[in-house]
């Protein structure tokens, strides 16, 4: 199996085994998080979205593993990288897939607000800033849209037959789509791709008929959630986005 490794992330490795993809978690990985990811994916599957289907949750050599269908194709990220000239076209496709996802509801997914509140509390921030962020989050409208939580071009696969699949549902929740868009915008910026970030936010707002300020209101929250991951090299950038104040 070691030869068929297709991706490696902190704490997990993904292998291809025949027509399936097997995600094997390190032994320290939280059992609850693993089962939650499988459950998330199963719930989203029911919405009819194009995503890999869960086939099995099992233990392989004493380690938890999630087996799902293998999607043959290329990630949108690699397509963008090779064909940068057509960035506009790819971002448009990227936004369309996201909006289709936002049009779905999936009963039982964790609530985005709960998740964000936990992440704000867990972030390395002073009490004042956490207070401001909690207050900001509290005042945001509650929705029930399927949100990915880590929506970026590396998680989109364009299959050989041309249809798009969304992968990696470990951060999925139900909530306000603008929060999901803020996270995506933040991820582009963290990658240093400000051109794609700008294209993305403009297109998202236009196609979803959302005011840009409304997505912007989520940015400090998205940044705080990201900060909770504890990546030191991102801290300065994120703090700049977080340390803002509500108009009085």
């Amino acid at each position: 199996m070691e030869n068929n490794i297709i991706a490696q992330r902190p704490g997990k490795k993904i292998y291809r085994v025949g027509d399936t993809a097997v995600k094997v978690f390190d032994s320290e990985y939280s059992k609850a998080d693993i089962l939650n990811e499988a459950l998330n994916q199963a719930r989203v599957e029911q919405t009819g979205l194009n995503i890999p289907k869960i086939l099995e949750v099992s233990k392989i050599d004493g380690k938890w593993a999630i087996t799902s269908t293998f999607i043959e194709g290329r990630t949108l990220a690699s397509m963008i990288k090779e064909d940068r000239e057509n960035l506009d076209k790819y971002i448009e496709k990227f936004v369309e897939i996201q909006l289709q996802m936002h049009s779905k509801t999936a009963y039982g997914l964790n609530k985005l607000k709960d998740k964000m509140n936990e992440k704000i509390s867990a972030a390395d921030l002073d009490a004042t800033t956490r207070y401001e962020l909690h207050t900001r989050l509290e005042s945001m409208p509650k929705h029930k849209k399927v949100c990915h939580g880590d929506y970026n071009p590396t998680n989109i696969i364009i299959g050989v037959e041309g249809s798009a699949y969304i992968l990696d549902w470990s951060h999925a929740s139900q909530g306000n789509a603008s929060s999901d868009a803020a996270t995506t915008y933040l991820l582009f910026n963290l990658e240093g791709d400000t051109e794609a970030a700008q294209l993305y936010i403009d297109l998202f707002c236009k196609k979803s008929d959302t005011a840009k300020q409304y997505v912007q209101q989520w940015l400090p929250i998205a940044a705080a959630a990201r900060l909770s991951k504890g990546n030191d090299n991102e801290r300065d950038f994120l703090m700049k986005w977080i340390d803002i104040i509500d108009y009085q």
């Binding site: 956490r130 207050t135 509500d246």
Partner: protein, 871 residues
């Protein structure tokens, strides 16, 4: 959320359990405080205000050191203001117990505290807002729990402690002021959910939380005050006022100016004045740098709030001198996409150029709409420019519009103006999503109970100015037209029968004798129509009389009244005039005033309608068959002449029908909701005399002029009674019965009156009528009084009523009135087919409202059926 399961401490509030215990305790303490007298409260209010005043500078220093925002010297002024101005404003305001009493109206207002107030305190003005909120809470006998912002918690809590100590020393219960020691959103939410009212000051996020807590909230929102400098303004005053306001506490008051729009032809002068007074204009490059520094992703960088111009410039990499007052950026767009169009909470100002005043107003509207809906706007202008000012005041959707005033100091009230309440919590109305649009003060922290004693509405007795009576009096009365009133032209209205039979001759003879010109209109039908009234009015307009003489029965008098209206007010709308009222004194429609063109004299020739002394007239629109019953005292004739010589030869049927109509008038007026001692005497004498004289007048006609005269007077007397006490259900039903089945009005009344009396007499009616002086169902007693006045008496009131009804039946029989509706040849089929519609219309008749028993539709129907079948 931040707080997990820390140990419960009751004295240090940093966890939900401790907070809830604290608040429960405070609620108990407040119950004692609620019993304090005004004198005790005022002593506490004074002590707390004094203590805050004394500590204004240490508190200012503490706030600046803790938050690293603002200026000590300015915060000292805010603290001073929050203590002194609030004390001065409310020192004499009554806030405990009875605060207002009006013994003649029987009303009283009693102020009660609301209970436990939660106060959310912002970082920008922590100590002054705390002082303000605590003072108004103490003045209103409320407990208050302070929820500080974590950034300003020490100074906020210190302010609260100072006030609590002073209040307790002055007699307030210990613990009446509380606070959260370690603030978190969880605790703030708890405070809001468990208090009785929320005084939220802060950003939109906090205000939204307050409004969604489920408790009443006085929350306020973001400001984005735009300023216009008009070409007529005093430029030196305008510029220095703006600088004075914008630099105050480094621009942290929410009412502070955020942009200035200057008219083109004074733009350079204004700019030079700003520069002269120490402001710095940024180059386009510098403006861009500043944008990136102060606004991040469309929001305000927390680091620049309340900082000096110099410090902000340094952060943006812009070189300015250390004493720079304001950084001014010249920009063009006023919508939200321009970073500098936002609220900046710092000495940074956007400046716009406007070609015209209208353009400047448009920009201000946009700025208010995008960032400060409902908050504050400001203009510098010569106050003689009223047209521009009016335009501006109309356009601004802000709850404070300040003229020639620094807005930081102006918006908080009472410093630079009169009558704008001093406050540090400024309502933004529904525009800002707020429940209040004025500056928050003690009135918002009280529950005012209004005690209202039962009072009876004003009544009145209104009659024509002159009522002349006695046989043969008409020519003498008419003398006045010449000798007293000096009239020149008379217009006579009568019907054809009377005209043909020379009933008008004594009038015209007299007019000839006096040399008064006259014209006569006699095309009036029994149910006068709008068409004939219009025709008469046309003739009137051509002839231009200064006196109208109506001679005839109800129809001629009603028609003449309508012609009078059309003559005086050709555009009058009868549909409006006929609008129903509950109380004529409170009616919606205001009747046009009458008598400017002509004086109105009414001379009855039958004894029944009373129209000569009533404010009523009924007219039928023959095109739509609609009847317009008009009622207003403007329709009262000016002079009524009751001369039995005009009635001598009434036919028997007319004597019967009009006589029984008069009896019904008197009986209904006597039991009406609006009956009074003033009308009762009139109604009683009318009833008595009709019983006594109607049979003889009917039998003997002109042969018994005494009976005739008694009937003439009784009819007019009943008219005065019902002109003021109004009628009841019998008339409502008779109006419809008469018009559906072509029965004379008096006959229709005669067929219904006894059933209506039985209906009204019930001592447990389904519903009684609504009028304050009608205290309980007592119509049976009223009928009995009426009967006894006529010497009819049984062993009890019920028996007396039946005897009275028996007498009425006997009277009807004597004057040839049949017993039932059926007896008048109306077929059962016709009657039943019309029954539902008659019932509905009778219910809606103007007379129904004054009936002592409020009729249900089904009850009206049953009365009709009984009157039809006689059983």
């Amino acid at each position: 959320m931040d707080n997990g399961s820390r140990e419960v401490k009751t004295d240090f509030i940093d966890n939900p359990n401790a907070l809830i215990e604290k608040m429960e305790n405070m609620k108990k303490i407040q119950k004692d405080f609620a019993k304090f007298s005004q004198q005790q409260v005022d002593k506490i209010f004074f002590a707390a205000a004094s203590a805050a005043n004394k500590q204004r500078i240490p508190l200012a220093r503490m706030a600046v050191e803790e938050t690293s925002m603002g200026i000590i010297e300015d915060k000292a002024i805010k603290n001073h203001y929050a203590s002194e101005y609030i004390y001065n404003k409310y020192k004499n305001t009554l806030t405990c117990g009875v605060i207002e009493e009006n013994s003649s109206y029987g009303t009283k207002k009693i102020a009660e505290p609301i209970g436990l107030i939660s106060a959310v305190i912002p970082t920008t003005n922590p100590t002054s807002t705390t002082i303000f909120k605590i003072l108004i809470a103490l003045k209103t006998r409320n407990a208050i729990i302070i929820s500080p912002h974590p950034r300003a918690k020490n100074s906020t809590i210190e302010a609260a402690k100072i006030l609590l100590k002073a209040a307790v020393e002055a007699g307030a219960p210990d613990g009446i002021i509380g606070w959260i020691d370690e603030p978190s959103l969880e605790l703030t939410d708890l405070v809001m959910k468990n208090s009785d009212i929320i005084l939220a000051t802060g950003g939109p996020g906090m205000v939204k939380s307050a409004y969604s807590s489920g408790k009443p909230a006085l929350g306020v929102g973001a400001g984005n005050t735009p300023v216009i400098i008009d070409e007529s303004a005093d430029i030196k005053m305008a510029v220095s006022s703006i600088i004075h306001s914008k630099t105050f506490d480094n621009g942290m008051i929410c009412a502070c100016e955020q942009s200035v729009t200057v008219l083109e032809n004074i733009y350079d002068e204004v700019k030079n004045e700003f520069i002269k007074r120490g402001c710095y204009f940024l180059t386009p490059d510098e403006t861009d740098k500043l944008r990136k520094t102060i606004i991040i992703n469309g929001a305000l960088n927390a680091k620049i709030v309340g900082q000096s111009a110099f410090k902000i410039a340094s952060m943006a990499g812009i070189n300015v001198s250390g004493d720079t007052k304001i950084l001014i950026a010249e920009v063009e767009r006023a919508d939200a996409s321009e970073e500098l169009a936002h609220e900046k909470l710092s000495p940074v100002l956007a400046m716009y150029r406007a070609k015209s005043f209208d353009e400047a107003v448009k920009k201000s509207e946009q700025l208010v709409h995008d960032g400060g809906y409902g908050h504050t706007s400001s203009i510098y202008i010569n106050t003689n420019e009223t047209e521009k000012l009016n335009k501006y005041e109309e356009a601004m959707k802000t709850c404070r519009i300040l003229i020639n005033t620094p807005s930081s100091q102006g918006g908080i009230g009472d410093l630079y103006n009169f009558n704008l309440d001093p406050s540090l919590t400024l309502g933004c109305g529904s525009w800002g999503g707020n429940s209040v649009s004025d500056n928050v003060g003690v009135k918002h922290l009280l529950n005012i109970k209004t005690v209202a004693h039962r009072r009876e509405n004003m009544l009145w007795l209104r009659t024509p100015q002159k009522i002349y009576f006695k046989k043969g009096c008409m020519p003498i009365a008419l003398n006045e037209l010449k000798t007293v009133l000096n009239k020149k032209k008379a217009f006579i209205v009568t019907d054809k029968f009377l005209y043909d039979n020379e009933y008008t001759k004594p009038v015209t003879d007299k007019l000839n004798e006096m040399g008064i010109k006259y014209n006569c209109f006699y095309n009036v039908s029994p149910d006068p129509t709008l068409g004939s009234a219009k025709e008469g009015a046309k003739a009137m307009s051509d002839f231009e009389p200064d006196v109208i003489i109506a001679i005839g029965g109800g129809s001629a008098m009603d028609a003449a009244k309508i012609m009078w209206v059309l003559y005086e007010h050709p555009d009058a709308d009868f549909l409006d005039m006929a609008m129903r009222f509950m109380d004529i004194r409170k009616r919606i429609y205001s009747f046009p005033s009458m008598g400017k063109k002509a004086y109105f004299v009414a001379i009855p020739t039958s004894s029944g309608t009373g129209s000569e002394v009533t404010p009523f007239a009924v007219i039928t629109d023959e095109s739509s068959s609609l009847k317009y019953p008009l009622a207003d005292y403007e329709l009262l004739p000016n002079m009524a002449i009751i001369d039995v010589d005009n009635m001598k030869n009434q036919p028997k049927e007319l004597t019967a029908a009009s006589g029984i109509d008069a009896l019904t008038h008197a009986l209904e007026a006597y039991v009406s909701l609006m009956a009074s001692d003033y009308t009762d005497g009139l109604a009683l004498i009318a009833v008595k005399n009709i019983f006594k004289y109607l049979p003889a007048a009917y039998e003997n006609g002109a042969a018994d002029m005494h009976a005739r005269e008694k009937m003439a007077d009784a009819s007019t007397i009943a008219g005065i009674a019902f002109a003021n006490a109004f009628l009841g259900l019998c008339h409502s039903m008779a109006h419809k019965l008469g018009s559906f089945h072509h029965l004379p009005h008096g006959i229709a009344n005669a067929l219904l009156i006894t059933e209506v009396m039985r209906f009204n007499a019930s001592d447990k009616p389904h519903k009684m009528g609504t009028f304050s002086q009608y205290q309980y169902p007592h119509t049976l007693e009223r009928y009995a009084e009426c009967a006894e006045f006529c010497s009819i008496k049984g062993e009890n009131d019920w028996q007396t009523l039946e005897l009275l009804i028996g007498e009425i039946e006997k009277l009807k029989n004597k004057i040839g009135i049949k017993k039932t509706i059926r007896d008048y040849g109306i077929t059962e089929e016709d009657f039943l087919n019309s029954l539902d519609e008659m019932t509905n219309l009778a219910f809606d008749d103007q007379c129904t409202g004054e009936n002592p028993r409020y009729p249900m539709l089904e009850e009206i129907k049953q009365i009709y059926l009984k009157a039809y079948y006689g059983e």
